[in-house]
Protein backbone atom coordinates (compact mmCIF):
# COMPACT_ATOMS: atom_id res chain seq x y z
CA UNK A 1 0.00 0.00 0.00
CA UNK A 2 2.77 2.37 0.92
CA UNK A 3 4.54 1.50 -2.29
CA UNK A 4 1.51 2.45 -4.28
CA UNK A 5 1.29 5.80 -2.58
CA UNK A 6 4.88 6.74 -3.04
CA UNK A 7 4.79 5.92 -6.75
CA UNK A 8 2.19 7.93 -8.62
CA UNK A 9 2.61 5.63 -11.60
CA UNK A 10 0.73 3.03 -9.59
CA UNK A 11 -2.17 5.27 -8.74
CA UNK A 12 -4.04 4.81 -12.00
CA UNK A 13 -7.03 2.43 -12.09
CA UNK A 14 -5.98 -1.11 -11.54
CA UNK A 15 -9.18 -3.10 -11.75
CA UNK A 16 -7.37 -6.08 -13.22
CA UNK A 17 -5.53 -6.06 -16.52
CA UNK A 18 -7.94 -8.40 -18.29
CA UNK A 19 -10.90 -6.10 -17.87
CA UNK A 20 -9.44 -3.08 -19.56
CA UNK A 21 -9.80 -2.51 -23.26
CA UNK A 22 -7.44 -0.39 -25.33
CA UNK A 23 -10.29 2.11 -25.62
CA UNK A 24 -10.44 2.44 -21.84
CA UNK A 25 -6.74 3.09 -21.72
CA UNK A 26 -6.97 5.66 -24.48
CA UNK A 27 -9.78 7.33 -22.64
CA UNK A 28 -7.86 7.40 -19.37
CA UNK A 29 -4.62 8.69 -20.68
CA UNK A 30 -5.40 12.39 -20.99
CA UNK A 31 -6.94 12.43 -17.52
CA UNK A 32 -3.99 10.75 -15.82
CA UNK A 33 -1.50 13.28 -14.42
CA UNK A 34 1.49 11.45 -15.85
CA UNK A 35 1.85 8.77 -18.48
CA UNK A 36 1.29 5.37 -16.97
CA UNK A 37 4.59 3.64 -16.44
CA UNK A 38 4.68 0.32 -18.25
CA UNK A 39 4.37 -2.60 -15.89
CA UNK A 40 7.82 -3.88 -16.72
CA UNK A 41 9.42 -0.59 -15.76
CA UNK A 42 7.53 -0.55 -12.51
CA UNK A 43 8.68 -4.02 -11.70
CA UNK A 44 12.22 -3.05 -12.57
CA UNK A 45 11.99 -0.07 -10.19
CA UNK A 46 10.72 -2.34 -7.43
CA UNK A 47 13.59 -4.72 -8.12
CA UNK A 48 16.04 -1.81 -7.93
CA UNK A 49 14.77 -0.67 -4.53
CA UNK A 50 14.88 -4.24 -3.30
CA UNK A 51 18.45 -4.70 -4.47
CA UNK A 52 19.49 -1.34 -3.02
CA UNK A 53 17.97 -2.25 0.36
CA UNK A 54 19.75 -5.60 0.46
CA UNK A 55 23.02 -4.01 -0.65
CA UNK A 56 22.95 -1.32 2.04
CA UNK A 57 22.06 -3.88 4.68
CA UNK A 58 24.91 -6.08 3.52
CA UNK A 59 27.34 -3.15 3.82
CA UNK A 60 26.14 -2.49 7.35
CA UNK A 61 26.50 -6.12 8.38
CA UNK A 62 29.83 -6.53 6.58
CA UNK A 63 32.14 -5.49 9.47
CA UNK A 64 30.52 -8.14 11.68
CA UNK A 65 30.80 -10.79 8.98
CA UNK A 66 34.44 -9.85 8.49
CA UNK A 67 35.24 -10.39 12.18
CA UNK A 68 33.44 -13.73 12.10
CA UNK A 69 35.40 -14.75 9.01
CA UNK A 70 38.76 -13.71 10.46
CA UNK A 71 38.02 -15.73 13.57
CA UNK A 72 38.32 -18.90 11.46
CA UNK A 73 41.53 -17.81 9.73
CA UNK A 74 44.94 -18.87 11.03
CA UNK A 75 46.68 -15.79 12.45
CA UNK A 76 49.45 -15.71 9.85
CA UNK A 77 46.83 -15.89 7.08
CA UNK A 78 45.13 -12.79 8.47
CA UNK A 79 48.30 -10.87 7.69
CA UNK A 80 49.32 -12.49 4.45
CA UNK A 81 46.18 -13.59 2.63
CA UNK A 82 42.93 -12.81 4.46
CA UNK A 83 40.72 -13.37 1.43
CA UNK A 84 41.57 -17.02 0.98
CA UNK A 85 39.22 -19.48 2.55
CA UNK A 86 41.50 -22.47 2.06
CA UNK A 87 42.61 -23.15 5.63
CA UNK A 88 39.75 -22.23 7.90
CA UNK A 89 40.34 -23.56 11.39
CA UNK A 90 38.86 -23.69 14.88
CA UNK A 91 42.27 -23.26 16.57
CA UNK A 92 41.52 -19.61 17.36
CA UNK A 93 38.46 -20.64 19.32
CA UNK A 94 40.43 -23.24 21.25
CA UNK A 95 42.90 -20.53 22.30
CA UNK A 96 40.21 -17.95 23.00
CA UNK A 97 38.15 -20.29 25.15
CA UNK A 98 41.13 -21.35 27.26
CA UNK A 99 42.42 -17.79 27.69
CA UNK A 100 39.08 -16.08 28.34
CA UNK A 101 37.32 -16.27 31.69
CA UNK A 102 34.03 -16.48 29.82
CA UNK A 103 31.99 -17.83 32.69
CA UNK A 104 33.36 -15.23 35.06
CA UNK A 105 32.83 -12.32 32.63
CA UNK A 106 29.25 -13.26 31.94
CA UNK A 107 28.57 -14.21 35.55
CA UNK A 108 29.81 -10.86 36.84
CA UNK A 109 27.99 -8.85 34.20
CA UNK A 110 24.77 -10.78 34.69
CA UNK A 111 24.90 -10.40 38.46
CA UNK A 112 25.56 -6.67 38.24
CA UNK A 113 22.87 -6.21 35.59
CA UNK A 114 20.20 -8.20 37.42
CA UNK A 115 20.74 -6.52 40.77
CA UNK A 116 21.17 -2.96 39.50
CA UNK A 117 18.28 -3.12 37.05
CA UNK A 118 15.90 -4.74 39.54
CA UNK A 119 16.73 -2.27 42.29
CA UNK A 120 16.75 0.69 39.91
CA UNK A 121 13.37 -0.22 38.46
CA UNK A 122 11.80 -0.91 41.85
CA UNK A 123 12.87 2.29 43.56
CA UNK A 124 12.09 4.40 40.50
CA UNK A 125 8.63 2.87 40.43
CA UNK A 126 7.87 3.66 44.07
CA UNK A 127 9.16 7.19 43.59
CA UNK A 128 7.13 7.69 40.42
CA UNK A 129 4.02 6.35 42.18
CA UNK A 130 4.50 8.81 45.01
CA UNK A 131 5.11 11.62 42.54
CA UNK A 132 1.97 11.00 40.52
CA UNK A 133 -0.56 9.26 42.76
CA UNK A 134 0.02 10.24 46.35
CA UNK A 135 -1.26 13.52 47.75
CA UNK A 136 1.42 15.83 49.11
CA UNK A 137 0.55 18.44 51.64
CA UNK A 138 2.36 20.91 49.41
CA UNK A 139 1.82 20.30 45.73
CA UNK A 140 4.91 22.35 44.90
CA UNK A 141 7.10 19.87 46.73
CA UNK A 142 5.77 17.10 44.52
CA UNK A 143 6.54 18.71 41.19
CA UNK A 144 9.86 20.05 42.48
CA UNK A 145 10.91 16.52 43.48
CA UNK A 146 9.96 15.18 40.09
CA UNK A 147 11.94 17.93 38.38
CA UNK A 148 14.92 17.21 40.68
CA UNK A 149 15.02 13.57 39.55
CA UNK A 150 14.46 14.41 35.89
CA UNK A 151 17.30 16.95 35.94
CA UNK A 152 19.59 13.94 36.10
CA UNK A 153 18.83 13.32 32.42
CA UNK A 154 21.13 16.22 31.60
CA UNK A 155 24.11 14.83 33.54
CA UNK A 156 26.70 12.98 31.43
CA UNK A 157 28.23 10.04 33.27
CA UNK A 158 31.74 11.31 32.63
CA UNK A 159 31.47 14.01 35.26
CA UNK A 160 30.53 11.33 37.79
CA UNK A 161 33.46 8.97 37.24
CA UNK A 162 36.04 10.46 39.54
CA UNK A 163 33.69 11.55 42.35
CA UNK A 164 31.98 8.15 42.38
CA UNK A 165 35.37 6.48 42.59
CA UNK A 166 36.20 8.60 45.65
CA UNK A 167 32.78 7.96 47.10
CA UNK A 168 33.14 4.19 46.69
CA UNK A 169 36.49 4.38 48.49
CA UNK A 170 35.05 6.51 51.28
CA UNK A 171 32.04 4.23 51.76
CA UNK A 172 34.21 1.12 51.73
CA UNK A 173 32.42 -0.17 48.64
CA UNK A 174 35.48 -0.28 46.42
CA UNK A 175 36.36 -3.86 45.58
CA UNK A 176 32.76 -5.03 45.88
CA UNK A 177 30.07 -5.37 43.25
CA UNK A 178 28.23 -2.58 45.07
CA UNK A 179 30.86 -0.14 43.81
CA UNK A 180 29.43 -0.55 40.32
CA UNK A 181 25.83 -1.46 41.16
CA UNK A 182 25.02 1.72 43.07
CA UNK A 183 26.09 4.17 40.35
CA UNK A 184 24.25 2.05 37.76
CA UNK A 185 21.10 2.25 39.87
CA UNK A 186 21.58 5.99 40.35
CA UNK A 187 22.07 6.88 36.69
CA UNK A 188 19.01 4.82 35.69
CA UNK A 189 16.66 6.71 38.03
CA UNK A 190 16.05 9.84 35.89
CA UNK A 191 15.06 7.94 32.74
CA UNK A 192 12.99 5.38 34.66
CA UNK A 193 11.19 8.18 36.49
CA UNK A 194 10.50 9.93 33.20
CA UNK A 195 8.86 6.85 31.70
CA UNK A 196 7.01 5.76 34.84
CA UNK A 197 5.58 9.19 35.67
CA UNK A 198 4.73 9.75 32.01
CA UNK A 199 2.77 6.50 31.92
CA UNK A 200 1.04 6.99 35.27
CA UNK A 201 -0.04 10.51 34.39
CA UNK A 202 -1.80 9.38 31.25
CA UNK A 203 -3.46 6.55 33.09
CA UNK A 204 -6.69 7.01 35.08
CA UNK A 205 -6.56 5.99 38.74
CA UNK A 206 -10.12 4.71 39.10
CA UNK A 207 -9.05 1.10 39.46
CA UNK A 208 -6.74 2.02 42.29
CA UNK A 209 -9.43 4.02 44.04
CA UNK A 210 -11.81 1.11 43.74
CA UNK A 211 -9.20 -1.20 45.23
CA UNK A 212 -8.63 1.19 48.12
CA UNK A 213 -12.36 1.39 48.80
CA UNK A 214 -12.35 -2.40 48.84
CA UNK A 215 -9.81 -2.19 51.62
CA UNK A 216 -6.48 -2.60 49.83
CA UNK A 217 -3.48 -0.87 51.37
CA UNK A 218 -0.60 0.87 49.62
CA UNK A 219 1.33 -2.36 49.12
CA UNK A 220 -1.64 -4.20 47.64
CA UNK A 221 -2.52 -1.29 45.36
CA UNK A 222 1.01 -1.17 43.97
CA UNK A 223 1.63 -4.89 43.55
CA UNK A 224 -1.81 -6.19 42.54
CA UNK A 225 -3.34 -3.24 40.70
CA UNK A 226 -0.73 -0.90 39.26
CA UNK A 227 2.20 -3.17 38.46
CA UNK A 228 0.26 -5.62 36.28
CA UNK A 229 -1.08 -2.70 34.24
CA UNK A 230 2.41 -1.32 33.76
CA UNK A 231 3.92 -4.42 32.22
CA UNK A 232 4.74 -2.76 28.87
CA UNK A 233 6.56 0.18 30.48
CA UNK A 234 8.40 -2.13 32.82
CA UNK A 235 9.51 -4.30 29.91
CA UNK A 236 10.81 -1.21 28.13
CA UNK A 237 12.68 -0.01 31.20
CA UNK A 238 14.20 -3.43 31.88
CA UNK A 239 15.44 -3.80 28.30
CA UNK A 240 16.80 -0.28 28.10
CA UNK A 241 18.72 -0.64 31.35
CA UNK A 242 19.99 -4.17 30.77
CA UNK A 243 21.42 -3.13 27.40
CA UNK A 244 23.03 -0.12 29.07
CA UNK A 245 24.62 -2.11 31.89
CA UNK A 246 25.81 -4.88 29.57
CA UNK A 247 27.54 -2.39 27.29
CA UNK A 248 28.75 0.09 29.92
CA UNK A 249 32.48 0.69 29.97
CA UNK A 250 33.60 4.02 31.54
CA UNK A 251 32.33 3.28 35.07
CA UNK A 252 33.50 -0.33 34.95
CA UNK A 253 36.98 0.71 33.84
CA UNK A 254 37.39 2.94 36.90
CA UNK A 255 35.48 1.07 39.58
CA UNK A 256 36.57 -2.52 38.94
CA UNK A 257 40.12 -3.37 39.84
CA UNK A 258 39.92 -7.04 40.72
CA UNK A 259 40.56 -9.32 37.69
CA UNK A 260 38.01 -11.74 39.15
CA UNK A 261 35.32 -9.09 38.84
CA UNK A 262 35.78 -8.11 35.18
CA UNK A 263 32.66 -7.41 33.15
CA UNK A 264 32.25 -8.30 29.48
CA UNK A 265 33.05 -4.79 28.25
CA UNK A 266 36.09 -4.61 30.49
CA UNK A 267 37.40 -7.92 29.18
CA UNK A 268 36.91 -6.79 25.57
CA UNK A 269 38.78 -3.55 26.25
CA UNK A 270 41.82 -5.63 27.17
CA UNK A 271 41.81 -7.89 24.12
CA UNK A 272 44.32 -5.76 22.23
CA UNK A 273 46.80 -5.97 25.10
CA UNK A 274 45.99 -9.60 25.86
CA UNK A 275 46.26 -11.05 22.36
CA UNK A 276 48.64 -8.44 20.84
CA UNK A 277 49.41 -9.95 17.42
CA UNK A 278 47.27 -13.06 17.83
CA UNK A 279 44.60 -11.52 15.64
CA UNK A 280 42.84 -14.83 15.11
CA UNK A 281 42.52 -15.38 18.85
CA UNK A 282 41.33 -11.81 19.32
CA UNK A 283 38.66 -12.18 16.65
CA UNK A 284 37.51 -15.51 18.04
CA UNK A 285 37.19 -13.89 21.46
CA UNK A 286 35.29 -10.97 19.96
CA UNK A 287 32.97 -13.35 18.14
CA UNK A 288 32.37 -15.29 21.35
CA UNK A 289 31.19 -12.07 22.97
CA UNK A 290 29.24 -10.89 19.96
CA UNK A 291 27.29 -14.04 19.18
CA UNK A 292 25.32 -14.41 22.43
CA UNK A 293 24.39 -10.74 22.26
CA UNK A 294 23.19 -11.05 18.67
CA UNK A 295 21.26 -14.24 19.43
CA UNK A 296 19.42 -12.55 22.30
CA UNK A 297 18.76 -9.59 20.06
CA UNK A 298 17.41 -11.85 17.32
CA UNK A 299 15.04 -13.51 19.80
CA UNK A 300 13.67 -10.31 21.31
CA UNK A 301 14.25 -8.03 18.33
CA UNK A 302 10.89 -6.28 18.44
CA UNK A 303 11.00 -5.58 22.17
CA UNK A 304 14.65 -4.52 22.10
CA UNK A 305 14.13 -2.03 19.29
CA UNK A 306 11.02 -0.65 20.98
CA UNK A 307 12.78 -0.49 24.34
CA UNK A 308 15.79 1.34 23.02
CA UNK A 309 13.97 3.89 20.90
CA UNK A 310 11.08 4.66 23.24
CA UNK A 311 13.03 7.39 25.00
CA UNK A 312 13.40 9.19 21.71
CA UNK A 313 9.83 8.76 20.60
CA UNK A 314 8.16 9.40 23.93
CA UNK A 315 10.48 12.16 25.14
Amino acid sequence: MTTAMSDPGLRTPESGPGLRTPADLAHERPAAPRPVAPRRRRRRAAMATGIAAYLVTFLIVLPILWIALLSFQPSDKILSDPFSFAELTLDNYARAITSLPLLRMYGNTLLIAVVSVTVGTAISFTAAFALTRMVFRRRRAQSATRFYLLAGLAVPVYILLFPVYRLDLALGLFGTYGALILPYVAVSIPFNTLLFTGFLREFPNELEEAAIIDGAGLWRVCTSVVLPLMRPVIATILIFNVVYVFNEFPFASILINDPDMVTVSLAVSRFQGQYTVDYGGMMAAATLVLVPQLVIYALFQRQVIAGMTVGAVKG
Binding site: I123, V157, V187, S265, M282, A312
Partner: protein, 289 residues
Amino acid sequence: MVWISSRWKIVLMLAPALIVFSLFVVYPVLYSLGFSFTKFQGFGTPEFIGLDNYAALGDDPFFWQSLQNTIVILVVSLVLLIPLSFGLALLLRRAIPGGGGLRALVFGPAIIAPILVGLIWVFILDPKIGLLNRVLALFGVAPIQWIGGDTLTPYAVSLVFIWSSVGFAMTIFYAGLQLQPADVLEASALDGATGWQQVRHVTIPMMKETFAIVSILMITNVFKIFELVYMLTGGGPVHRSETLVSYMYFVTFTKQQYGYGMAISVIVTVLGAIVSIGYLLLSRGRRTA
Protein backbone atom coordinates in the same frame (compact mmCIF):
# COMPACT_ATOMS: atom_id res chain seq x y z
CA MET B 1 -5.85 9.02 46.70
CA VAL B 2 -5.53 10.78 50.04
CA TRP B 3 -6.20 7.55 51.93
CA ILE B 4 -2.82 6.06 51.17
CA SER B 5 -0.87 9.29 51.46
CA SER B 6 0.28 9.54 55.02
CA ARG B 7 3.52 11.43 55.35
CA TRP B 8 5.66 8.44 56.35
CA LYS B 9 4.33 6.42 53.41
CA ILE B 10 5.30 9.16 50.98
CA VAL B 11 8.75 9.34 52.52
CA LEU B 12 9.12 5.58 52.38
CA MET B 13 8.23 5.50 48.69
CA LEU B 14 10.49 8.39 47.72
CA ALA B 15 13.45 7.92 50.01
CA PRO B 16 15.36 5.09 48.25
CA ALA B 17 15.42 6.78 44.84
CA LEU B 18 16.13 10.21 46.33
CA ILE B 19 18.99 8.97 48.49
CA VAL B 20 20.74 6.92 45.79
CA PHE B 21 20.24 9.66 43.19
CA SER B 22 21.44 12.44 45.49
CA LEU B 23 24.45 10.48 46.68
CA PHE B 24 25.62 9.09 43.34
CA VAL B 25 24.53 11.76 40.86
CA VAL B 26 23.88 15.14 42.49
CA TYR B 27 26.64 15.06 45.07
CA PRO B 28 29.26 13.93 42.49
CA VAL B 29 28.30 16.77 40.15
CA LEU B 30 28.79 19.31 42.95
CA TYR B 31 31.98 17.54 44.00
CA SER B 32 33.38 17.79 40.46
CA LEU B 33 32.39 21.42 40.25
CA GLY B 34 34.16 22.10 43.54
CA PHE B 35 37.26 20.19 42.50
CA SER B 36 37.44 22.06 39.22
CA PHE B 37 38.49 25.14 41.27
CA THR B 38 41.34 23.29 42.96
CA LYS B 39 44.68 21.76 42.27
CA PHE B 40 44.64 18.16 43.42
CA GLN B 41 46.98 15.30 42.56
CA GLY B 42 45.36 12.60 44.65
CA PHE B 43 47.16 13.15 47.95
CA GLY B 44 47.20 15.91 50.55
CA THR B 45 44.49 18.52 50.57
CA PRO B 46 43.18 20.10 47.37
CA GLU B 47 44.50 23.62 46.98
CA PHE B 48 41.96 26.27 45.98
CA ILE B 49 43.12 28.06 42.85
CA GLY B 50 39.93 29.74 41.65
CA LEU B 51 39.46 29.74 37.91
CA ASP B 52 43.08 28.84 37.11
CA ASN B 53 42.13 25.43 35.68
CA TYR B 54 39.68 27.01 33.28
CA ALA B 55 42.24 29.65 32.32
CA ALA B 56 44.83 26.92 31.74
CA LEU B 57 42.46 25.16 29.32
CA GLY B 58 42.78 28.17 27.04
CA ASP B 59 46.51 27.57 26.71
CA ASP B 60 46.27 23.80 26.40
CA PRO B 61 46.73 22.81 22.74
CA PHE B 62 45.50 19.28 23.48
CA PHE B 63 42.25 20.65 24.86
CA TRP B 64 41.68 22.73 21.74
CA GLN B 65 42.61 19.76 19.58
CA SER B 66 40.10 17.56 21.39
CA LEU B 67 37.41 20.25 21.14
CA GLN B 68 38.13 20.60 17.45
CA ASN B 69 37.97 16.83 16.95
CA THR B 70 34.66 16.68 18.79
CA ILE B 71 33.27 19.39 16.55
CA VAL B 72 34.58 17.66 13.41
CA ILE B 73 32.96 14.39 14.51
CA LEU B 74 29.75 16.26 15.32
CA VAL B 75 29.52 18.02 11.97
CA VAL B 76 30.56 15.07 9.81
CA SER B 77 28.27 12.69 11.67
CA LEU B 78 25.22 14.92 11.49
CA VAL B 79 25.70 15.93 7.87
CA LEU B 80 25.98 12.31 6.77
CA LEU B 81 23.91 10.48 9.35
CA ILE B 82 20.64 12.41 9.05
CA PRO B 83 20.22 12.09 5.26
CA LEU B 84 21.54 8.52 5.27
CA SER B 85 19.22 7.29 7.97
CA PHE B 86 16.23 9.15 6.55
CA GLY B 87 16.96 7.81 3.09
CA LEU B 88 17.28 4.33 4.52
CA ALA B 89 13.92 4.71 6.25
CA LEU B 90 12.35 5.75 2.94
CA LEU B 91 13.99 2.79 1.22
CA LEU B 92 12.98 0.23 3.83
CA ARG B 93 9.43 1.58 3.93
CA ARG B 94 8.91 0.14 0.45
CA ALA B 95 7.40 -3.30 0.24
CA ILE B 96 10.51 -5.45 0.03
CA PRO B 97 10.49 -9.20 0.64
CA GLY B 98 12.17 -9.71 4.01
CA GLY B 99 11.96 -6.01 4.83
CA GLY B 100 11.36 -6.60 8.54
CA GLY B 101 14.49 -8.71 8.73
CA LEU B 102 16.50 -6.02 6.94
CA ARG B 103 15.31 -3.39 9.42
CA ALA B 104 16.37 -5.61 12.32
CA LEU B 105 19.81 -6.16 10.78
CA VAL B 106 20.31 -2.45 10.15
CA PHE B 107 19.41 -1.70 13.77
CA GLY B 108 21.78 -4.43 14.98
CA PRO B 109 24.96 -2.34 15.49
CA ALA B 110 23.09 -0.16 18.00
CA ILE B 111 22.98 -2.99 20.54
CA ILE B 112 26.68 -3.90 20.32
CA ALA B 113 28.79 -2.58 23.18
CA PRO B 114 30.69 0.53 22.01
CA ILE B 115 33.91 -1.04 23.21
CA LEU B 116 33.31 -4.03 20.92
CA VAL B 117 32.29 -1.73 18.07
CA GLY B 118 35.69 -0.07 18.46
CA LEU B 119 37.49 -3.42 18.34
CA ILE B 120 35.54 -4.57 15.28
CA TRP B 121 36.47 -1.40 13.42
CA VAL B 122 40.15 -1.70 14.27
CA PHE B 123 40.05 -4.65 11.91
CA ILE B 124 38.42 -2.58 9.20
CA LEU B 125 40.38 0.66 9.55
CA ASP B 126 43.83 -0.38 10.72
CA PRO B 127 46.31 0.79 8.06
CA LYS B 128 48.22 -2.52 8.09
CA ILE B 129 45.71 -5.26 8.75
CA GLY B 130 42.39 -3.49 8.10
CA LEU B 131 39.87 -4.67 5.53
CA LEU B 132 39.48 -1.22 3.97
CA ASN B 133 43.10 -0.87 2.88
CA ARG B 134 43.15 -4.52 1.79
CA VAL B 135 40.24 -3.91 -0.53
CA LEU B 136 41.73 -0.64 -1.78
CA ALA B 137 45.01 -2.45 -2.45
CA LEU B 138 43.17 -4.73 -4.87
CA PHE B 139 42.50 -1.57 -6.88
CA GLY B 140 46.10 -0.44 -6.56
CA VAL B 141 45.45 2.26 -3.94
CA ALA B 142 48.34 2.87 -1.55
CA PRO B 143 47.60 2.26 2.16
CA ILE B 144 45.81 5.16 3.84
CA GLN B 145 46.24 5.98 7.53
CA TRP B 146 42.56 5.92 8.46
CA ILE B 147 43.40 5.75 12.14
CA GLY B 148 46.54 6.61 14.03
CA GLY B 149 47.68 9.19 11.49
CA ASP B 150 47.76 12.94 11.88
CA THR B 151 44.42 14.00 10.45
CA LEU B 152 41.99 11.28 9.47
CA THR B 153 41.11 9.72 12.83
CA PRO B 154 38.21 12.05 13.73
CA TYR B 155 36.66 11.31 10.34
CA ALA B 156 37.16 7.60 10.91
CA VAL B 157 35.52 7.94 14.34
CA SER B 158 32.58 9.68 12.65
CA LEU B 159 32.31 6.80 10.21
CA VAL B 160 32.20 4.26 13.04
CA PHE B 161 29.72 6.37 14.98
CA ILE B 162 27.51 6.60 11.90
CA TRP B 163 27.72 2.84 11.49
CA SER B 164 26.59 2.22 15.04
CA SER B 165 23.79 4.83 14.97
CA VAL B 166 22.36 4.73 11.46
CA GLY B 167 19.94 1.92 12.25
CA PHE B 168 18.81 3.59 15.44
CA ALA B 169 18.12 6.88 13.64
CA MET B 170 16.49 5.00 10.76
CA THR B 171 14.11 3.30 13.20
CA ILE B 172 12.97 6.64 14.61
CA PHE B 173 12.44 8.04 11.11
CA TYR B 174 10.65 4.84 10.10
CA ALA B 175 8.28 5.18 13.06
CA GLY B 176 7.67 8.80 12.04
CA LEU B 177 6.91 7.77 8.47
CA GLN B 178 4.34 5.22 9.68
CA LEU B 179 2.51 8.01 11.49
CA GLN B 180 2.06 10.07 8.36
CA PRO B 181 -1.59 10.50 7.45
CA ALA B 182 -2.19 8.54 4.25
CA ASP B 183 -4.76 10.99 2.86
CA VAL B 184 -2.23 13.82 2.61
CA LEU B 185 0.06 11.65 0.54
CA GLU B 186 -2.83 10.46 -1.58
CA ALA B 187 -3.96 14.02 -2.20
CA SER B 188 -0.51 15.10 -3.28
CA ALA B 189 -0.22 12.06 -5.54
CA LEU B 190 -3.54 12.95 -7.18
CA ASP B 191 -2.20 16.45 -7.71
CA GLY B 192 0.57 14.85 -9.69
CA ALA B 193 3.46 14.99 -7.27
CA THR B 194 6.27 12.60 -8.12
CA GLY B 195 7.83 10.41 -5.43
CA TRP B 196 10.65 12.82 -4.86
CA GLN B 197 8.39 15.88 -4.82
CA GLN B 198 6.23 14.20 -2.20
CA VAL B 199 9.24 13.54 -0.01
CA ARG B 200 10.56 17.04 -0.48
CA HIS B 201 7.35 19.04 -0.06
CA VAL B 202 5.07 16.82 2.00
CA THR B 203 6.98 14.25 4.04
CA ILE B 204 9.95 16.31 5.19
CA PRO B 205 7.94 19.37 6.30
CA MET B 206 5.55 17.12 8.21
CA MET B 207 8.44 15.38 9.96
CA LYS B 208 10.36 18.46 11.08
CA GLU B 209 10.03 17.43 14.69
CA THR B 210 11.37 13.95 14.07
CA PHE B 211 14.36 15.50 12.34
CA ALA B 212 14.95 17.75 15.33
CA ILE B 213 14.66 14.87 17.78
CA VAL B 214 17.07 12.67 15.85
CA SER B 215 19.53 15.54 15.52
CA ILE B 216 19.49 16.35 19.21
CA LEU B 217 19.81 12.70 20.19
CA MET B 218 22.75 12.28 17.88
CA ILE B 219 24.42 15.46 19.17
CA THR B 220 24.18 14.21 22.76
CA ASN B 221 25.54 10.84 21.66
CA VAL B 222 28.50 12.42 19.87
CA PHE B 223 29.45 14.18 23.11
CA LYS B 224 29.54 10.75 24.76
CA ILE B 225 31.91 9.14 22.25
CA PHE B 226 34.70 7.64 24.29
CA GLU B 227 35.07 3.89 23.77
CA LEU B 228 35.55 4.26 20.01
CA VAL B 229 38.55 6.54 20.45
CA TYR B 230 39.82 4.41 23.32
CA MET B 231 39.87 1.31 21.11
CA LEU B 232 40.81 2.84 17.75
CA THR B 233 43.78 5.01 18.75
CA GLY B 234 43.78 5.52 22.50
CA GLY B 235 43.65 9.23 21.63
CA GLY B 236 47.05 9.18 19.96
CA PRO B 237 49.38 9.91 18.40
CA VAL B 238 50.19 12.64 20.95
CA HIS B 239 46.49 13.37 21.66
CA ARG B 240 45.79 14.19 18.02
CA SER B 241 42.63 12.08 17.92
CA GLU B 242 41.31 12.80 21.40
CA THR B 243 37.66 13.83 21.97
CA LEU B 244 36.72 16.08 24.90
CA VAL B 245 35.60 13.12 26.94
CA SER B 246 38.57 10.90 26.16
CA TYR B 247 40.96 13.75 26.95
CA MET B 248 39.17 14.33 30.25
CA TYR B 249 39.58 10.62 31.02
CA PHE B 250 43.29 10.79 30.21
CA VAL B 251 43.93 13.94 32.27
CA THR B 252 42.00 12.62 35.24
CA PHE B 253 42.91 8.97 35.40
CA THR B 254 46.24 8.65 33.61
CA LYS B 255 47.84 12.00 34.40
CA GLN B 256 45.95 12.22 37.70
CA GLN B 257 45.44 15.97 37.49
CA TYR B 258 42.08 15.70 39.14
CA GLY B 259 41.24 19.39 39.41
CA TYR B 260 42.10 20.02 35.78
CA GLY B 261 40.22 16.94 34.63
CA MET B 262 37.13 18.02 36.53
CA ALA B 263 37.27 21.42 34.83
CA ILE B 264 37.09 19.65 31.46
CA SER B 265 34.22 17.48 32.64
CA VAL B 266 32.33 20.56 33.84
CA ILE B 267 32.68 22.04 30.36
CA VAL B 268 31.46 18.81 28.77
CA THR B 269 28.47 18.84 31.12
CA VAL B 270 27.60 22.45 30.35
CA LEU B 271 27.75 21.76 26.60
CA GLY B 272 25.57 18.70 27.08
CA ALA B 273 23.13 20.60 29.29
CA ILE B 274 22.63 23.22 26.60
CA VAL B 275 21.65 20.49 24.17
CA SER B 276 19.37 18.81 26.74
CA ILE B 277 17.58 22.05 27.48
CA GLY B 278 16.96 22.44 23.77
CA TYR B 279 15.56 18.91 23.76
CA LEU B 280 13.27 19.56 26.73
CA LEU B 281 11.94 22.77 25.20
CA LEU B 282 11.27 20.88 22.03
CA SER B 283 9.42 17.99 23.62
CA ARG B 284 7.39 20.41 25.71
CA GLY B 285 6.39 22.25 22.54
CA ARG B 286 5.38 18.91 21.11
CA ARG B 287 3.14 18.05 24.05
CA THR B 288 1.20 21.30 23.82
CA ALA B 289 0.95 21.05 20.04
